[in-house]
Point group: C2
Chain length 134, copies 2
């Protein structure tokens, strides 16, 4: 499997944990060695692992199962770091996300997640649609 | 100068170019060797350099001088890659940003910018304020 595919698999694992409300899986896929950050929709960045996991524990307890999906993921690998851009459907909300990963102990671990709302105009035929939202 | 400080200097250069409406500087600081992406507020990701620079040309022509500032920047360096989380004031809008850089030819070049609106509650004393917005 190429590193790009491994990164996309790690990205998929993030959304599976998110959609399943699986806190243990979510906790396991975030790096414990590198500095981490997380910018939830409408928030400023959280930059401490404990705060980030606390935020996920709260969010996961509110997300009904299977309401989260990821699509249009593109992974860019630079050495032992990678970032993914993708779109998320969380319930009825459409979001654009950036996910950053580092390779540690042979696994791609998340070090940053940034998700933000997408204006409907861009989702339904707006000038930046560009065939990325199907 | 440490690599972290160099990354923060590259991040500052991005906001100087943005605030000055300086398209040539903006074009110069984005990588020409690595894959790039850009997620403007409310947009999905652009993933072609030409589209990204076209978007900046349009945005820069609309931004009055000196209306852009960056604060609370934190840089995380992992080898030849780095990501910065920071907050932006663009006119009267408050945004949270993720900026990703790679080191090429001895310089830190931007490969990804993601900016998203911050809910006012988080800026003015909300539960996630956490002393990052002064």
């Amino acid at each position: 499997m190429t590193e790009t595919k491994k990164v996309l698999a790690a990205n998929d694992a993030f959304y599976r944990a998110f959609g399943a409300g699986d806190y243990a899986a979510m906790d396991g896929l975030w790096s414990r060695q590198a500095p981490v950050a997380c910018t939830h929709p409408g928030w400023t960045a959280l930059t401490e692992r404990a705060r980030i996991m606390e935020s996920w524990r709260s969010i996961l307890s509110d997300v009904p199962g299977s309401s989260v999906s990821c699509f249009d993921a593109e992974a860019h690998v630079v050495g032992a770091t990678a970032f993914v851009t993708c779109n998320e459907a969380v319930g009825h909300n459409m979001l654009a996300a950036t996910n950053v990963f580092v390779r540690e102990d042979g696994e791609w671990r998340m070090v940053h997640h940034h998700a933000s709302p997408v204006a409907r105009a861009y989702v339904k035929g707006g000038p930046t649609r560009d065939d990325r939202i199907h």
